[in-house]
């Protein structure tokens, strides 16, 4: 088990990268704490798999170093890193039985057969495949293969870290929930460092202590789910986390007031005039409809999503989402939207600007 440090790291699949755009991962410095449970979130193609492959040693970074604890493993082969990884597209050894598949990583390490047998049945119970242990892995269904792949990732107890690359994509919702709980238990029991790639934010938020958001090859923010929700450092984080994502409005920042096309919006802090394109960001949770206060808005439609309703409104050409809690009436007299000043963030060129109180 180890703390993982990425120092000065960058990677390009192009042999002679010319511009920033050639890099699949832009230069980054990050520390992943020993025993942390991280969720890695990001849009398709942003470099999540590349990052995992660099940590596990399947890909060698074009620049920078990878450290496990204090040991530099940048050039160490995968086997020497003793790391488990569950691939995005499940790999099973199809000439082996399910049991042999699960035992394979342990056998390769020359573990005691009695221990292997015990460990394999534990894992089989976790992934719910005890009944099929002696079947050949060839010809199993896609979700069974994904479970085997997941099981092989969890079977070794002494690994430095476990990397999960969207491990539950084809598993049905009920089993997904069950497996996620098992992963949580495993984490609590052994305290492995775990990095969990997913597209699904509920999955990320339930699994992880810390969420890492990757955007176009750059780690834009790393923090607790609540922190990322309240203070997105980058507009992408605001948009990607939360449902619906954060509202963004172009605005001129003048001290404690943001001038939008629809009128002035009071801010919770004072800002020095920022450079570049400036926007204010506000979560739909902190927007309220009112009869006269705030910016004039035209309601486009109302969506009922069960626990609450979402109003889509047009504010001077920009679409704004408003979450209306259960029980609150919605009526035609509500023609304005009001932003809670304490929860407004200011962005310049997509990055958050700190205000002074």
């Amino acid at each position: 088990m180890a703390r993982i440090t990425l120092s000065n790291l960058a990677h390009s699949y192009v042999p002679q990268p010319k511009s920033e755009a050639d890099y699949a991962l832009k230069q980054m410095d990050h520390v992943w704490d020993d025993g942390g449970a991280y969720a890695l979130l990001g849009a398709s193609g942003c470099g999540k798999t590349t990052l995992l492959n660099i940590i596990s040693g399947l890909v060698h970074p074009s620049q920078g170093r990878v450290l496990f604890g204090d040991a530099d493993v940048t050039h160490a082969p995968t086997a020497a890193r003793n790391i488990a990884q569950v691939f995005q597209f499940p790999v099973v050894y199809d000439t082996m039985t399910v049991r042999e598949n699960l035992a394979f990583p342990l056998r390769n390490r020359g573990m005691d057969p009695a221990y292997i047998a015990a460990r394999v049945s534990q894992i089989a119970a976790m992934i719910g495949m005890e009944a099929t242990l002696d079947r050949k892995a060839r010809g199993l269904t896609a979700d069974a293969k994904q479970k085997i792949s997941l099981g092989r990732g969890m079977v070794r107890q002494d690994v430095n870290a476990i990397l999960f690359d969207e491990p539950l994509t084809v598993i049905d919702p009920h089993m997904k929930w069950e497996l996620r709980t098992q992963l949580k238990l495993l984490h609590r029991e052994f305290g492995h460092t775990m990095i969990y790639v997913t597209h699904d934010q509920t999955e990320a938020l339930t699994f992880a202590d810390k969420v890492v958001v990757l955007h176009e090859g750059r780690v834009v923010q790393m923090g607790t789910p609540q922190y990322l929700f309240d203070t997105p450092e980058h507009t992408f984080v605001g948009y990607f986390i939360g449902s619906p994502g954060m509202n963004l409005l172009d605005a001129d920042i003048q001290g404690t007031v943001a001038q939008t096309a629809a009128g002035p919006v009071p801010l919770g802090a004072a800002y020095a005039p920022p450079q570049g394109r400036t926007q204010i960001g506000i979560r739909p949770e902190y927007v309220t409809m009112s009869a006269s206060e705030g910016l004039p808005a035209r309601v486009l439609r109302i969506e009922d999503v069960g626990r609450h309703r979402i109003i889509r409104a047009d504010v001077a050409g920009t679409h704004i989402s408003v979450i209306v809690p259960e029980g609150q009436p919605v009526g035609a007299q509500l023609t304005h939207v009001r932003f809670d000043p304490a929860h407004i963030n200011v962005y310049a060129n997509d990055w958050r600007v700190k205000g002074t109180r």
Binding site: S56, G57, L58, I83, V91, Y93, T95, P105, N108, K136
Partner: protein, 290 residues
């Protein structure tokens, strides 16, 4: 869709049947004719029943040729299959050198059989051949025209040189079809080189390997031109394989009856062994799939 049953469609198969009859069945029937009859020429035949077959089954000469043939096929399979796999595993997987190797490997396959025989016949000569002369210069007593062991070694070397490429190329094609993800998973699971070969590469190569073994078996079991050109079956009868002996008997001595009987049995042996190979390998494959 409604399918209409029209038996006249069978006529469409007729041209193929006629062709096959003329190219295979009718010539084979003359062999069958010779095998069961005796003749003193002038197209007069006497029914001989299984006589020729009995003679052949008891013939010392045929036993010898058959033994040599089995030994030869066994040796070259034992060398060419592992060697071919080994070469395929170590070939570059992409880029210029991979194409270069492929072309280089394909070269021996493109040389006509009698030319291969001639090449080695000259190559091995002690007076002018590079191989024979070099060996002699090193003080090794090598002469494939006098020494049966040397003759065997030369023929085996020739066959290995000629045909290992085929096995290697087939295996290479099998290896290329393995997705990179398997190797990555194996690295994560800390598999040894041997485990990777045993559990990932070999299973994926099994299909093409079956074809390679079958082809090499059939080809080597019927080998004629190359040893005929190289040693002519000698010294003595030491490299007289089945087909060489058969030709000697039929064309050299004009014993058409025994030769025909024997060639029928020869044909059946090849068919039988190939069938056994195929069934064993495919059922193994099916068991794996369970």
């Amino acid at each position: 869709m409604d399918k209409t049953q029209n038996n006249r469609a069978w006529f469409l198969v007729l041209p193929v049947l006629v062709l096959v009859a003329f190219s295979a069945v009718i010539p084979l029937m003359t062999v069958v004719n010779y095998a069961f009859n005796d003749t003193f020429g002038q197209n007069q035949f006497f029914w001989n029943g299984l006589g020729w077959f009995e003679d052949m089954l008891q013939s010392e000469r045929m036993h010898g040729a058959f033994g040599r043939q089995v030994l030869f096929s066994a040796i070259i399979l034992a060398i060419e299959v592992p060697l071919g796999i080994y070469i395929a595993l170590n070939m570059p997987k992409s880029g210029f050198w991979s194409s270069f190797c492929l072309v280089l490997m394909a070269l021996p396959l493109l040389i006509p059989f009698n030319v291969v025989g001639t090449i080695w016949q000259i190559f091995g000569r002690v007076d002018i051949g590079l191989l024979g002369h070099s060996l002699a210069a090193l003080g090794i007593d090598y002469n494939y025209t006098n020494d049966p062991l040397d003759a065997w070694l030369t023929i085996i070397a020739m066959d290995v040189w000629h045909w290992t490429s085929l096995v290697a190329l087939l295996c290479y094609a099998g290896l290329q079809s393995i997705p990179q993800a398997y190797y990555q998973a194996a690295r994560i699971d800390q598999a040894s080189r041997w485990s990777i070969f045993r559990y990932i590469e070999l299973p994926k190569m099994a299909g093409v390997l079956l074809i390679a073994v079958l082809l090499r078996f059939m080809d080597s079991f019927m080998i004629y031109t190359e040893p005929f050109v190289l040693t002519g079956g000698g010294p003595g009868n030491s490299t007289t394989f089945l087909s060489i002996d058969l030709v000697k008997m039929a064309v050299g001595q004009f014993d058409l009856g025994p030769a025909a009987a024997f060639s029928l049995m020869y044909f059946l042996v090849i068919l039988l062994v190939s069938w056994v190979f195929y069934t064993v390998m495919t059922t193994l494959d099916k068991q794996e799939g369970k």
